[in-house]
Amino acid sequence: MKIEQAIVLRNEQIAHGIWRMSLVAPDVASAYVGPGQFISLLTDDSWDHLVRRPMSIAKINEDEVDIIYKIFGDVTDHFTKKCPGDSMNILGPLGNVFTDYNSEFAEPILIGGGVGLAPILNLYDACEKAVMIIGARSADEHFLNHKPDNSVYLTTDDGTAGIEGNVLTALKNMNLSENTILFACGPEPMLIAIQNYADEYNIRAQLSVESYMGCGVGLCQGCVIERQNGQVMKHSYHEKYSLVCLDGPVYECDEIIFG
Protein backbone atom coordinates (compact mmCIF):
# COMPACT_ATOMS: atom_id res chain seq x y z
CA MET A 1 0.00 0.00 0.00
CA LYS A 2 1.50 3.31 -1.11
CA ILE A 3 0.58 6.96 -1.38
CA GLU A 4 1.77 8.32 -4.67
CA GLN A 5 1.56 11.47 -6.76
CA ALA A 6 0.42 9.79 -9.98
CA ILE A 7 0.61 11.51 -13.37
CA VAL A 8 -2.42 11.59 -15.66
CA LEU A 9 -1.60 10.00 -19.00
CA ARG A 10 -5.07 10.02 -20.54
CA ASN A 11 -8.48 11.09 -19.31
CA GLU A 12 -11.36 10.76 -21.73
CA GLN A 13 -15.06 10.16 -21.99
CA ILE A 14 -15.62 6.64 -23.34
CA ALA A 15 -19.42 6.53 -23.22
CA HIS A 16 -22.24 8.78 -22.07
CA GLY A 17 -21.26 10.01 -18.60
CA ILE A 18 -18.50 7.40 -18.29
CA TRP A 19 -14.82 8.30 -18.23
CA ARG A 20 -11.58 6.40 -18.27
CA MET A 21 -8.40 7.75 -16.71
CA SER A 22 -4.93 6.26 -17.13
CA LEU A 23 -2.39 7.16 -14.49
CA VAL A 24 1.32 6.60 -14.35
CA ALA A 25 1.77 5.21 -10.85
CA PRO A 26 4.82 2.95 -10.59
CA ASP A 27 4.69 2.51 -6.80
CA VAL A 28 1.03 1.54 -6.72
CA ALA A 29 1.32 -0.61 -9.85
CA SER A 30 4.28 -2.53 -8.46
CA ALA A 31 2.37 -3.42 -5.29
CA TYR A 32 -0.70 -4.64 -7.22
CA VAL A 33 -1.91 -8.13 -6.35
CA GLY A 34 -4.85 -8.81 -8.68
CA PRO A 35 -8.30 -7.98 -10.07
CA GLY A 36 -10.72 -6.71 -7.45
CA GLN A 37 -8.26 -4.30 -5.88
CA PHE A 38 -8.91 -0.58 -5.87
CA ILE A 39 -7.16 2.74 -5.39
CA SER A 40 -8.39 5.79 -3.47
CA LEU A 41 -8.03 9.22 -5.03
CA LEU A 42 -7.94 12.76 -3.74
CA THR A 43 -9.85 15.39 -5.65
CA ASP A 44 -7.12 17.99 -5.33
CA ASP A 45 -4.71 19.46 -2.82
CA SER A 46 -7.33 21.57 -1.07
CA TRP A 47 -9.25 20.27 1.90
CA ASP A 48 -12.68 21.23 0.54
CA HIS A 49 -13.23 17.59 -0.37
CA LEU A 50 -11.15 15.82 2.18
CA VAL A 51 -12.34 12.24 1.80
CA ARG A 52 -10.60 10.08 -0.79
CA ARG A 53 -12.77 8.39 -3.41
CA PRO A 54 -12.30 4.65 -3.87
CA MET A 55 -12.21 3.48 -7.51
CA SER A 56 -11.68 -0.06 -8.75
CA ILE A 57 -8.65 -0.74 -10.88
CA ALA A 58 -9.81 -1.35 -14.47
CA LYS A 59 -6.41 -2.28 -15.85
CA ILE A 60 -2.78 -2.47 -14.85
CA ASN A 61 -0.16 -2.27 -17.52
CA GLU A 62 3.40 -2.09 -16.23
CA ASP A 63 3.44 1.23 -14.35
CA GLU A 64 0.05 2.38 -15.62
CA VAL A 65 -3.13 2.16 -13.56
CA ASP A 66 -6.54 2.72 -15.20
CA ILE A 67 -9.82 3.59 -13.56
CA ILE A 68 -13.29 3.99 -15.06
CA TYR A 69 -15.61 6.46 -13.40
CA LYS A 70 -19.05 7.88 -13.79
CA ILE A 71 -19.94 11.50 -13.12
CA PHE A 72 -22.22 11.47 -10.12
CA GLY A 73 -21.24 14.53 -8.13
CA ASP A 74 -18.90 17.47 -8.00
CA VAL A 75 -15.93 15.33 -7.03
CA THR A 76 -16.14 13.09 -10.08
CA ASP A 77 -16.93 16.17 -12.14
CA HIS A 78 -13.59 17.50 -10.85
CA PHE A 79 -11.87 14.35 -12.11
CA THR A 80 -13.04 15.06 -15.68
CA LYS A 81 -11.07 18.34 -15.62
CA LYS A 82 -7.75 16.54 -15.19
CA CYS A 83 -5.48 16.77 -18.22
CA PRO A 84 -2.51 14.68 -19.30
CA GLY A 85 0.47 15.75 -17.19
CA ASP A 86 -1.64 16.74 -14.16
CA SER A 87 -0.99 14.88 -10.97
CA MET A 88 -3.44 12.94 -8.84
CA ASN A 89 -2.72 11.86 -5.28
CA ILE A 90 -3.61 8.19 -5.01
CA LEU A 91 -3.48 5.58 -2.26
CA GLY A 92 -3.31 1.91 -3.10
CA PRO A 93 -3.54 -0.78 -4.10
CA LEU A 94 -6.21 -1.55 -1.52
CA GLY A 95 -8.53 -4.44 -0.77
CA ASN A 96 -8.72 -8.11 -1.62
CA VAL A 97 -9.03 -9.92 -4.96
CA PHE A 98 -11.35 -12.20 -6.94
CA THR A 99 -10.30 -15.84 -6.61
CA ASP A 100 -10.50 -19.18 -8.41
CA TYR A 101 -11.40 -17.70 -11.81
CA ASN A 102 -8.63 -19.67 -13.49
CA SER A 103 -8.88 -22.82 -11.42
CA GLU A 104 -9.30 -26.11 -13.23
CA PHE A 105 -12.86 -26.69 -14.54
CA ALA A 106 -13.99 -23.20 -13.47
CA GLU A 107 -16.49 -21.64 -15.85
CA PRO A 108 -16.46 -17.98 -14.93
CA ILE A 109 -19.29 -15.64 -15.90
CA LEU A 110 -18.36 -11.99 -15.34
CA ILE A 111 -21.17 -9.51 -14.81
CA GLY A 112 -20.74 -5.74 -14.72
CA GLY A 113 -23.33 -3.01 -14.46
CA GLY A 114 -22.88 0.76 -14.56
CA VAL A 115 -19.36 1.72 -13.50
CA GLY A 116 -19.17 -1.65 -11.79
CA LEU A 117 -17.60 -2.83 -14.95
CA ALA A 118 -14.14 -1.53 -14.06
CA PRO A 119 -13.05 -4.49 -11.89
CA ILE A 120 -14.94 -6.82 -14.23
CA LEU A 121 -12.92 -5.66 -17.24
CA ASN A 122 -9.77 -6.06 -15.22
CA LEU A 123 -10.80 -9.57 -14.25
CA TYR A 124 -11.73 -10.39 -17.86
CA ASP A 125 -8.14 -9.60 -18.90
CA ALA A 126 -6.86 -11.97 -16.24
CA CYS A 127 -9.21 -14.85 -17.12
CA GLU A 128 -7.97 -17.59 -19.41
CA LYS A 129 -11.54 -18.01 -20.60
CA ALA A 130 -14.72 -16.28 -19.50
CA VAL A 131 -18.20 -15.17 -20.46
CA MET A 132 -18.86 -11.50 -19.81
CA ILE A 133 -22.18 -9.67 -19.50
CA ILE A 134 -22.21 -5.89 -19.28
CA GLY A 135 -25.42 -4.02 -18.52
CA ALA A 136 -26.42 -0.40 -19.04
CA ARG A 137 -29.59 1.61 -19.44
CA SER A 138 -29.04 2.36 -23.09
CA ALA A 139 -26.57 1.99 -26.00
CA ASP A 140 -24.86 5.34 -25.43
CA GLU A 141 -23.61 4.14 -22.03
CA HIS A 142 -21.78 1.20 -23.63
CA PHE A 143 -18.28 1.37 -25.04
CA LEU A 144 -17.82 -2.32 -25.85
CA ASN A 145 -19.47 -4.26 -28.64
CA HIS A 146 -22.05 -7.00 -28.29
CA LYS A 147 -20.14 -10.08 -29.50
CA PRO A 148 -21.92 -13.29 -28.50
CA ASP A 149 -19.45 -15.28 -30.63
CA ASN A 150 -16.70 -14.07 -28.32
CA SER A 151 -18.88 -14.58 -25.25
CA VAL A 152 -19.27 -10.84 -24.66
CA TYR A 153 -22.92 -9.89 -24.14
CA LEU A 154 -24.29 -6.40 -23.72
CA THR A 155 -27.70 -5.64 -22.29
CA THR A 156 -29.69 -2.41 -22.35
CA ASP A 157 -32.90 -1.57 -20.52
CA ASP A 158 -34.29 0.07 -23.67
CA GLY A 159 -33.07 -2.51 -26.19
CA THR A 160 -30.87 -0.03 -28.10
CA ALA A 161 -27.89 -2.40 -27.95
CA GLY A 162 -27.40 -6.10 -27.34
CA ILE A 163 -30.04 -7.95 -25.37
CA GLU A 164 -33.05 -5.96 -24.21
CA GLY A 165 -33.36 -6.26 -20.45
CA ASN A 166 -30.84 -6.33 -17.65
CA VAL A 167 -27.87 -8.53 -16.85
CA LEU A 168 -30.17 -11.05 -15.17
CA THR A 169 -32.15 -11.43 -18.39
CA ALA A 170 -28.93 -12.43 -20.13
CA LEU A 171 -27.76 -14.63 -17.29
CA LYS A 172 -31.03 -16.55 -17.17
CA ASN A 173 -30.58 -17.57 -20.81
CA MET A 174 -27.19 -19.11 -20.21
CA ASN A 175 -26.32 -22.70 -19.56
CA LEU A 176 -24.96 -22.88 -16.08
CA SER A 177 -23.13 -25.85 -14.63
CA GLU A 178 -21.89 -26.86 -11.24
CA ASN A 179 -18.58 -25.30 -12.26
CA THR A 180 -20.07 -21.91 -13.00
CA ILE A 181 -18.77 -19.11 -10.82
CA LEU A 182 -20.34 -15.68 -11.11
CA PHE A 183 -18.17 -12.58 -10.60
CA ALA A 184 -20.16 -9.39 -10.34
CA CYS A 185 -19.80 -5.71 -9.66
CA GLY A 186 -22.42 -3.03 -10.09
CA PRO A 187 -25.26 -1.14 -8.46
CA GLU A 188 -26.62 -2.65 -5.27
CA PRO A 189 -30.01 -3.73 -6.74
CA MET A 190 -28.09 -5.70 -9.39
CA LEU A 191 -25.89 -7.35 -6.80
CA ILE A 192 -28.92 -8.25 -4.69
CA ALA A 193 -30.59 -9.83 -7.74
CA ILE A 194 -27.45 -11.86 -8.45
CA GLN A 195 -27.17 -12.85 -4.82
CA ASN A 196 -30.76 -14.14 -4.89
CA TYR A 197 -30.24 -15.92 -8.20
CA ALA A 198 -27.03 -17.59 -7.02
CA ASP A 199 -28.72 -18.64 -3.84
CA GLU A 200 -31.75 -20.07 -5.65
CA TYR A 201 -29.69 -22.10 -8.13
CA ASN A 202 -26.92 -22.90 -5.71
CA ILE A 203 -24.21 -21.23 -7.79
CA ARG A 204 -21.05 -19.78 -6.35
CA ALA A 205 -20.80 -16.01 -6.78
CA GLN A 206 -18.21 -13.40 -5.82
CA LEU A 207 -19.51 -9.87 -5.50
CA SER A 208 -17.42 -6.71 -5.44
CA VAL A 209 -19.31 -4.21 -3.28
CA GLU A 210 -19.11 -0.44 -3.03
CA SER A 211 -19.01 1.37 0.25
CA TYR A 212 -18.49 4.92 1.46
CA MET A 213 -14.98 4.96 2.88
CA GLY A 214 -13.41 7.48 5.22
CA CYS A 215 -9.85 6.21 4.91
CA GLY A 216 -9.56 2.93 2.95
CA VAL A 217 -6.99 1.52 5.36
CA GLY A 218 -9.02 0.36 8.37
CA LEU A 219 -8.51 3.40 10.59
CA CYS A 220 -11.97 4.95 10.59
CA GLN A 221 -14.23 1.86 10.73
CA GLY A 222 -16.66 3.67 8.46
CA CYS A 223 -17.11 1.37 5.46
CA VAL A 224 -18.85 -1.59 7.07
CA ILE A 225 -21.17 -4.13 5.47
CA GLU A 226 -23.26 -6.57 7.47
CA ARG A 227 -22.09 -10.16 7.58
CA GLN A 228 -24.57 -12.93 6.87
CA ASN A 229 -23.30 -15.62 9.15
CA GLY A 230 -21.61 -13.45 11.70
CA GLN A 231 -22.28 -14.36 15.24
CA VAL A 232 -24.59 -11.51 16.07
CA MET A 233 -24.04 -11.40 19.75
CA LYS A 234 -24.90 -8.71 22.17
CA HIS A 235 -21.29 -7.70 22.27
CA SER A 236 -19.23 -8.36 19.21
CA TYR A 237 -16.58 -6.60 17.22
CA HIS A 238 -16.27 -7.18 13.48
CA GLU A 239 -18.46 -10.23 13.82
CA LYS A 240 -21.62 -8.48 12.81
CA TYR A 241 -19.91 -6.01 10.46
CA SER A 242 -17.00 -6.42 8.10
CA LEU A 243 -14.72 -3.59 6.96
CA VAL A 244 -15.06 -3.38 3.17
CA CYS A 245 -11.68 -1.64 2.81
CA LEU A 246 -9.72 -4.47 4.44
CA ASP A 247 -11.91 -7.59 4.21
CA GLY A 248 -13.47 -6.61 0.86
CA PRO A 249 -14.41 -5.30 -1.60
CA VAL A 250 -14.86 -8.87 -2.90
CA TYR A 251 -17.12 -11.18 -0.91
CA GLU A 252 -18.62 -14.60 -1.54
CA CYS A 253 -22.30 -13.80 -2.00
CA ASP A 254 -23.41 -15.80 1.01
CA GLU A 255 -21.09 -13.83 3.32
CA ILE A 256 -22.89 -10.50 3.30
CA ILE A 257 -26.26 -8.81 3.68
CA PHE A 258 -27.07 -5.66 1.75
CA GLY A 259 -28.54 -2.78 3.74
Partner: protein
Protein backbone atom coordinates in the same frame (compact mmCIF):
# COMPACT_ATOMS: atom_id res chain seq x y z
CA UNK B 1 16.74 22.96 16.30
CA UNK B 2 14.01 23.87 18.75
CA UNK B 3 13.22 21.73 21.76
CA UNK B 4 9.75 20.43 21.06
CA UNK B 5 9.34 18.45 24.25
CA UNK B 6 6.40 19.34 26.46
CA UNK B 7 5.28 18.36 29.91
CA UNK B 8 1.69 17.56 30.87
CA UNK B 9 1.21 16.73 34.53
CA UNK B 10 4.37 14.80 35.35
CA UNK B 11 4.63 13.23 31.91
CA UNK B 12 7.09 14.50 29.32
CA UNK B 13 6.41 14.03 25.60
CA UNK B 14 9.06 14.37 22.93
CA UNK B 15 6.80 16.64 20.87
CA UNK B 16 3.31 18.15 21.00
CA UNK B 17 1.86 16.47 17.88
CA UNK B 18 -0.43 13.62 18.93
CA UNK B 19 -2.96 11.67 16.88
CA UNK B 20 -6.62 11.73 17.95
CA UNK B 21 -8.75 8.88 19.20
CA UNK B 22 -10.69 7.03 16.52
CA UNK B 23 -8.56 8.36 13.70
CA UNK B 24 -5.51 6.16 14.08
CA UNK B 25 -6.99 2.82 15.08
CA UNK B 26 -4.98 1.22 17.87
CA UNK B 27 -1.74 2.64 16.58
CA UNK B 28 -0.56 -0.71 15.29
CA UNK B 29 -1.91 -0.61 11.71
CA UNK B 30 -0.38 0.60 8.45
CA UNK B 31 3.33 0.38 9.19
CA UNK B 32 3.90 0.86 5.44
CA UNK B 33 2.40 4.33 5.45
CA UNK B 34 3.62 5.80 8.68
CA UNK B 35 6.54 5.70 11.08
CA UNK B 36 4.80 6.15 14.41
CA UNK B 37 8.00 6.62 16.37
CA UNK B 38 8.00 10.32 15.53
CA UNK B 39 4.50 10.97 16.82
CA UNK B 40 4.30 12.72 20.22
CA UNK B 41 1.63 10.29 21.44
CA UNK B 42 -1.05 8.04 20.04
CA UNK B 43 -4.48 8.32 21.60
CA UNK B 44 -6.12 4.98 20.90
CA UNK B 45 -9.70 4.37 19.76
CA UNK B 46 -12.24 4.58 22.60
CA UNK B 47 -12.36 1.36 24.59
CA UNK B 48 -15.43 0.22 26.49
CA UNK B 49 -15.86 -2.58 29.02
CA UNK B 50 -17.35 -4.96 26.44
CA UNK B 51 -16.54 -5.11 22.72
CA UNK B 52 -18.92 -3.10 20.56
CA UNK B 53 -19.87 -3.77 16.97
CA UNK B 54 -20.84 -0.15 16.34
CA UNK B 55 -23.70 1.44 14.40
CA UNK B 56 -25.24 0.12 11.16
CA UNK B 57 -24.04 1.78 7.93
CA UNK B 58 -23.99 4.39 6.51
CA UNK B 59 -21.52 5.62 9.09
CA UNK B 60 -19.56 8.23 7.12
CA UNK B 61 -20.31 11.09 4.74
CA UNK B 62 -18.21 13.93 3.39
CA UNK B 63 -19.46 17.46 4.04
CA UNK B 64 -17.97 20.81 2.97
CA UNK B 65 -14.37 20.82 4.29
CA UNK B 66 -15.28 18.06 6.68
CA UNK B 67 -17.02 14.80 7.27
CA UNK B 68 -19.71 13.42 9.53
CA UNK B 69 -19.25 10.08 11.23
CA UNK B 70 -21.36 7.86 13.36
CA UNK B 71 -19.18 4.84 14.00
CA UNK B 72 -20.83 4.10 17.32
CA UNK B 73 -17.68 3.33 19.29
CA UNK B 74 -16.93 0.05 17.54
CA UNK B 75 -14.07 -1.39 19.58
CA UNK B 76 -12.47 -4.60 20.77
CA UNK B 77 -13.27 -4.14 24.46
CA UNK B 78 -10.89 -3.81 27.36
CA UNK B 79 -10.01 -7.52 27.75
CA UNK B 80 -8.58 -7.75 24.25
CA UNK B 81 -6.96 -4.33 24.61
CA UNK B 82 -5.07 -5.74 27.58
CA UNK B 83 -4.19 -9.13 26.13
CA UNK B 84 -3.48 -8.17 22.52
CA UNK B 85 -2.41 -4.54 22.46
CA UNK B 86 -0.60 -3.75 25.70
CA UNK B 87 2.19 -6.24 24.86
CA UNK B 88 2.66 -4.52 21.47
CA UNK B 89 2.74 -1.08 23.09
CA UNK B 90 5.41 -2.40 25.43
CA UNK B 91 7.86 -2.58 22.53
CA UNK B 92 6.80 0.63 20.77
CA UNK B 93 8.70 3.90 21.18
CA UNK B 94 5.57 6.01 20.94
CA UNK B 95 3.73 6.92 24.13
CA UNK B 96 0.19 5.51 24.22
CA UNK B 97 -2.73 7.34 25.79
CA UNK B 98 -5.69 5.03 26.25
CA UNK B 99 -9.08 6.58 25.50
CA UNK B 100 -11.94 5.16 27.59
CA UNK B 101 -15.69 5.51 26.99
CA UNK B 102 -18.51 4.30 29.18
CA UNK B 103 -22.16 4.62 30.02
CA UNK B 104 -21.82 4.79 33.77
CA UNK B 105 -19.21 5.86 36.29
CA UNK B 106 -18.69 2.22 37.22
CA UNK B 107 -18.06 1.25 33.61
CA UNK B 108 -15.29 3.84 33.24
CA UNK B 109 -13.83 2.74 36.57
CA UNK B 110 -14.02 -0.95 35.69
CA UNK B 111 -12.11 -0.38 32.46
CA UNK B 112 -9.44 1.67 34.18
CA UNK B 113 -9.09 -0.78 37.09
CA UNK B 114 -8.52 -3.68 34.69
CA UNK B 115 -5.76 -1.80 32.92
CA UNK B 116 -4.20 -0.53 36.14
CA UNK B 117 -4.18 -4.10 37.45
CA UNK B 118 -1.67 -5.24 34.84
CA UNK B 119 1.75 -3.86 34.12
CA UNK B 120 1.98 -1.72 31.00
CA UNK B 121 3.78 1.30 29.60
CA UNK B 122 0.75 3.36 28.63
CA UNK B 123 1.33 6.91 29.82
CA UNK B 124 -2.20 7.95 30.58
CA UNK B 125 -5.90 8.00 29.94
CA UNK B 126 -8.13 10.27 27.91
CA UNK B 127 -11.69 10.03 29.15
CA UNK B 128 -14.27 10.35 26.41
CA UNK B 129 -17.21 12.15 27.95
CA UNK B 130 -18.20 13.59 24.64
CA UNK B 131 -19.08 11.00 21.98
CA UNK B 132 -22.21 12.32 20.30
CA UNK B 133 -23.14 9.12 18.50
CA UNK B 134 -24.21 6.61 21.10
CA UNK B 135 -26.01 6.92 24.37
CA UNK B 136 -23.19 4.93 25.96
CA UNK B 137 -20.69 7.51 24.75
CA UNK B 138 -20.59 9.45 27.95
CA UNK B 139 -22.31 12.55 26.60
CA UNK B 140 -24.54 12.63 29.67
CA UNK B 141 -21.35 13.23 31.64
CA UNK B 142 -19.89 15.68 29.19
CA UNK B 143 -22.81 18.09 29.48
CA UNK B 144 -23.16 17.94 33.26
CA UNK B 145 -20.70 19.68 35.58
CA UNK B 146 -21.46 17.66 38.69
CA UNK B 147 -21.21 14.35 36.86
CA UNK B 148 -17.97 15.41 35.19
CA UNK B 149 -16.40 16.37 38.50
CA UNK B 150 -17.59 13.17 40.19
CA UNK B 151 -16.33 10.96 37.35
CA UNK B 152 -12.97 12.75 37.28
CA UNK B 153 -12.54 12.47 41.05
CA UNK B 154 -13.45 8.77 41.09
CA UNK B 155 -11.04 7.97 38.26
CA UNK B 156 -8.31 10.05 39.89
CA UNK B 157 -8.42 7.60 42.81
CA UNK B 158 -7.46 4.71 40.59
CA UNK B 159 -4.50 6.07 38.66
CA UNK B 160 -1.36 8.10 39.02
CA UNK B 161 -0.98 8.17 35.27
CA UNK B 162 -1.94 11.17 33.20
CA UNK B 163 -5.70 11.81 33.37
CA UNK B 164 -7.18 13.86 30.54
CA UNK B 165 -10.88 14.68 30.21
CA UNK B 166 -12.01 15.05 26.58
CA UNK B 167 -14.55 17.83 26.25
CA UNK B 168 -17.50 18.22 23.94
CA UNK B 169 -18.28 21.40 22.02
CA UNK B 170 -21.97 20.43 22.11
CA UNK B 171 -22.59 22.21 25.41
CA UNK B 172 -23.80 25.61 26.50
CA UNK B 173 -20.63 26.47 28.40
CA UNK B 174 -17.51 24.41 27.81
CA UNK B 175 -15.57 26.36 30.46
CA UNK B 176 -17.88 25.05 33.19
CA UNK B 177 -17.14 21.43 32.23
CA UNK B 178 -13.42 22.24 32.01
CA UNK B 179 -13.48 23.69 35.53
CA UNK B 180 -15.28 20.62 36.82
CA UNK B 181 -12.56 18.45 35.30
CA UNK B 182 -9.90 20.58 36.94
CA UNK B 183 -11.68 20.47 40.31
CA UNK B 184 -12.01 16.69 40.03
CA UNK B 185 -8.25 16.36 39.69
CA UNK B 186 -7.66 15.99 35.95
CA UNK B 187 -4.10 16.71 34.76
CA UNK B 188 -5.36 18.20 31.52
CA UNK B 189 -8.36 18.58 29.26
CA UNK B 190 -8.53 17.90 25.55
CA UNK B 191 -10.92 19.76 23.26
CA UNK B 192 -12.81 19.29 21.09
CA UNK B 193 -14.64 16.12 20.19
CA UNK B 194 -16.84 16.24 17.10
CA UNK B 195 -19.64 18.75 16.61
CA UNK B 196 -23.16 17.36 16.18
CA UNK B 197 -24.14 17.57 12.53
CA UNK B 198 -26.51 16.21 9.92
CA UNK B 199 -26.30 15.55 6.20
CA UNK B 200 -29.22 15.05 3.82
CA UNK B 201 -29.28 13.89 0.20
CA UNK B 202 -31.70 16.23 -1.57
CA UNK B 203 -32.12 13.77 -4.45
CA UNK B 204 -33.15 10.75 -2.44
CA UNK B 205 -34.54 12.85 0.44
CA UNK B 206 -32.70 10.52 2.80
CA UNK B 207 -30.38 11.13 5.73
CA UNK B 208 -26.81 10.27 4.77
CA UNK B 209 -26.08 8.78 8.19
CA UNK B 210 -27.93 5.84 9.73
CA UNK B 211 -28.25 7.47 13.13
CA UNK B 212 -29.51 10.73 11.53
CA UNK B 213 -27.07 12.88 13.50
CA UNK B 214 -23.35 12.30 13.63
CA UNK B 215 -20.12 14.01 14.58
CA UNK B 216 -18.69 16.66 12.27
CA UNK B 217 -14.91 16.80 12.04
CA UNK B 218 -12.20 18.21 9.78
CA UNK B 219 -11.26 21.80 8.81
CA UNK B 220 -14.95 22.79 9.00
CA UNK B 221 -14.76 22.66 12.82
CA UNK B 222 -11.40 24.39 13.27
CA UNK B 223 -12.94 27.76 14.22
CA UNK B 224 -15.18 26.03 16.77
CA UNK B 225 -12.20 24.19 18.25
CA UNK B 226 -10.08 27.34 18.44
CA UNK B 227 -12.82 29.23 20.27
CA UNK B 228 -13.34 26.36 22.72
CA UNK B 229 -9.61 26.09 23.47
CA UNK B 230 -9.27 29.83 23.95
CA UNK B 231 -12.25 30.01 26.31
CA UNK B 232 -11.01 27.04 28.33
CA UNK B 233 -7.50 28.55 28.44
CA UNK B 234 -8.93 31.61 30.12
CA UNK B 235 -10.91 29.50 32.58
CA UNK B 236 -8.55 26.82 33.93
CA UNK B 237 -4.90 26.43 34.93
CA UNK B 238 -4.38 22.86 33.74
CA UNK B 239 -2.93 22.31 30.27
CA UNK B 240 -5.15 22.01 27.20
CA UNK B 241 -4.66 19.60 24.33
CA UNK B 242 -6.22 21.20 21.26
CA UNK B 243 -8.20 19.10 18.75
CA UNK B 244 -10.31 19.94 15.73
CA UNK B 245 -9.67 20.31 12.04
CA UNK B 246 -5.90 20.61 11.96
CA UNK B 247 -4.25 19.68 8.66
CA UNK B 248 -1.03 21.75 8.71
CA UNK B 249 1.61 23.27 10.98
CA UNK B 250 -0.13 26.62 10.57
CA UNK B 251 -3.29 25.18 12.09
CA UNK B 252 -1.21 23.75 14.93
CA UNK B 253 0.40 27.13 15.62
CA UNK B 254 -3.04 28.74 15.74
CA UNK B 255 -4.19 26.15 18.27
CA UNK B 256 -1.09 26.81 20.36
CA UNK B 257 -1.72 30.56 20.21
CA UNK B 258 -5.28 29.90 21.37
CA UNK B 259 -3.94 28.13 24.44
CA UNK B 260 -3.02 24.53 23.60
CA UNK B 261 0.20 23.03 24.89
CA UNK B 262 -0.17 20.01 22.61
CA UNK B 263 -2.53 19.06 19.80
CA UNK B 264 -4.15 16.01 18.28
CA UNK B 265 -4.47 15.45 14.55
CA UNK B 266 -7.71 13.64 13.69
CA UNK B 267 -9.52 13.41 10.38
CA UNK B 268 -6.42 14.48 8.42
CA UNK B 269 -4.94 11.04 9.16
CA UNK B 270 -7.56 9.44 6.94
CA UNK B 271 -6.24 11.27 3.95
CA UNK B 272 -2.62 10.62 4.81
CA UNK B 273 -1.76 8.43 7.81
CA UNK B 274 1.74 9.98 7.74
CA UNK B 275 0.54 13.58 8.02
CA UNK B 276 1.38 14.03 11.72
CA UNK B 277 5.06 13.52 11.00
CA UNK B 278 4.97 16.03 8.14
CA UNK B 279 3.23 18.58 10.35
CA UNK B 280 5.88 18.02 13.02
CA UNK B 281 8.68 18.71 10.55
CA UNK B 282 6.97 21.88 9.37
CA UNK B 283 6.47 23.01 12.95
CA UNK B 284 10.16 22.53 13.56
CA UNK B 285 11.02 24.64 10.53
CA UNK B 286 8.63 27.35 11.68
CA UNK B 287 10.21 27.56 15.11
CA UNK B 288 13.68 27.73 13.55
CA UNK B 289 12.58 30.52 11.22
CA UNK B 290 11.09 32.42 14.14
CA UNK B 291 14.24 31.85 16.21
CA UNK B 292 12.18 30.22 18.92
CA UNK B 293 13.69 27.38 20.91
CA UNK B 294 10.36 26.03 22.14
CA UNK B 295 6.61 26.53 21.74
CA UNK B 296 6.23 27.69 25.34
CA UNK B 297 6.17 31.39 24.56
CA UNK B 298 3.41 30.85 22.01
CA UNK B 299 0.94 29.07 24.25
CA UNK B 300 -2.12 31.29 24.61
CA UNK B 301 -0.20 34.22 23.11
CA UNK B 302 -2.85 35.21 20.57
CA UNK B 303 -3.24 38.98 20.37
CA UNK B 304 -6.88 39.82 20.82
CA UNK B 305 -8.52 43.23 20.40
CA UNK B 306 -10.34 43.24 23.69
Amino acid sequence: MADLSIKIGHTTFKNPIFVASGTFGYGTDNPELVDVSNIGAIVTKSITLNPREGNPPPRIVETPSGMINSIGLANIGVEKYISELLPIYEVMDTPIIMNIAGSSITEYIDVMKKVEAVSSNIVGYEINISCPNVKEGGMEFGVDCEMTEKLTRELRNFTDRLLIMKLSPNVTDITAIAKSSENGGADAVSAINTVVGMSIDHKTKKSNIYTTYGGLSGPAIKPVGLACVHKVFNAVKIPIIGIGGMVSSHDVIEYILAGSCAVQIGTANYRDPGIAEKILNDLNDYLDEQNLNSITSLIGAVKTYV
